[in-house]
């Protein structure tokens, strides 16, 4: 149990670090990583990209990951595409059912 709590704390700390890398864009995140790696090499600061945890790790701890506007826009577009795909699938199945029924009724 204690081990579990330690692990959670460790992941949560990592997630907080992760947010630093998720500043405004992937380029800024990469620059931040470069700076951290340089600090780490000179013996200052934290340990560079070893601390990098993915957004998925952050979600597992209940931590919130703040997306950039660009990422939010991309997610919205993907969500719309998924929604349209589901609607198209439902319409397709409905059509197949009706056409098959019509075939059978028509003999």
């Amino acid at each position: 149990m204690a081990d579990n709590n330690d692990k959670k704390t460790e992941i949560a700390e990592g997630a907080v670090e992760d947010r630093r890398y998720r500043a405004q864009s992937t380029d800024e995140a990469a620059e931040q990583l470069d700076r951290d790696a340089a600090e780490s090499d000179s013996g200052q600061g934290h340990t560079g990209h070893d601390d990098f945890l993915s957004a998925r790790d952050a979600r597992a701890t209940g931590e919130h990951y703040r997306m950039t506007p660009e990422e939010e826009k991309s997610r919205k577009r993907r969500s719309i595409a998924i929604a349209l795909g589901i609607v198209a699938f439902v319409v397709l199945i409905y059509l197949i059912t009706m056409l098959r029924l019509a075939e059978n009724v028509g003999g």
Partner: protein, 309 residues
């Protein structure tokens, strides 16, 4: 992306920027359009008029999505070599737009969905053939053949040749010899088409470690095999006339196109220096696409216009 990050970290950075268009690109739209075309010819060339066009079109959609799904699975598996080759490094995974795992999930999901929809809209034979096509391309060709033998595209070509049989089966519920003739045309067309490409892209394939014929057996042997396969495909393309599902008009088109294809292969075979080989292989590659399109278009036109028989 950033050089000092691991692949997983780079993938995480790119994760939230993927657009729907990047996922569509995973489906290899150009290959999909060829599959739609050849499957349509299979449907139209099958005996008896298509009595339910809406269901036939839904079946065609399912076949094209299935082909696209196998393309996504291929991109998932081959992302490492795609990143090395100039022709493929702009694809969604090597360019960092889509994660490998997401491409895998997307491909697998669409594979299952397309087979189910085809089973509902057409029949189990067509659905089974589509499932086999996806399996053959993603597993047999991509995972086993592509990196292990110079015969990769010969055997793997079966996956690309199956769509007209799937189309035929979708509207008739059967897959007779005539449908397999349509299969054979694409199957024997594939080696000269891809080997012509690999002759002028051999450095790419060499860098990626793919054992294509020119890298393994050399240019001379490749040219000879291209010539042999061209003779075979030119001969097979005429056979629909003898099986009574194409008229003499189609036969004339097939003979003329086969002759031009053969002339291109002979020119490539006779090319002595590097520059002449490059020119002849590029020209043959371009014509091979035109050849397949016209052969199938001739069959399609004959059946749509009622000229055959």
């Amino acid at each position: 992306m950033t050089d000092h990050l691991t692949d997983d970290q780079n993938e995480t950075l790119a994760f939230n920027l993927a657009q729907p268009g990047d996922y569509f690109a995973l489906l290899k739209p150009r290959v999909m359009s060829l599959v739609i075309f050849t499957a349509l010819v299979g449907m139209v060339a099958a005996p008896g008029a298509i009595d339910n066009w809406p269901l036939a079109l839904i079946s065609l959609l399912a076949i094209s999505v299935g082909a696209g799904a196998s393309g996504a699975l291929n991109m998932w598996w081959d992302s490492d070599i795609d990143a090395v080759m100039s022709r493929t490094k702009g694809r969604p995974i090597p360019s960092g737009k889509v994660q490998r795992a997401d491409a895998f999930g997307f491909g697998l999901f669409l594979s299952v969905l397309s087979v189910i929809v085809l089973a509902l809209a057409a029949n189990y034979l067509a659905a089974g053939l589509l499932a086999f096509t996806i399996f053959f391309y993603a597993v047999i060709y991509s995972m086993f053949l592509k990196r292990s033998t110079p015969q990769n595209i010969v055997i793997g070509g079966a996956a690309g040749a199956l769509p007209p049989v799937v189309g035929w089966a979708a509207v008739t519920g059967t897959a007779p010899l005539e449908a397999w003739l349509l299969f054979a045309i694409i199957f024997f067309w594939t080696p000269p088409h891809f080997w012509a490409l690999s002759l002028f892209k051999s450095e790419d394939y060499e860098a990626a470690g793919i054992p294509m014929m020119p890298n393994v057996k050399g240019e001379a042997r490749t040219k000879l095999e291209i010539l042999i396969y061209t003779v075979i495909v030119a001969a097979i393309a005429i056979t629909p006339v003898f099986f009574a599902f194409a008229s003499w008009l189609y036969g004339a088109v097939a003979v003329i196109l086969g002759g031009v294809f053969l002339a291109g292969s002979i020119r490539l075979y006779a090319a002595k220096d590097e520059a002449a080989t490059m020119r002849a292989s590029k020209s043959l590659f371009g014509f091979s696409i035109f050849y397949l399109f016209l052969i199938y278009a001739a069959l399609l036109a004959e059946h749509l216009l009622g000229l055959h028989g």
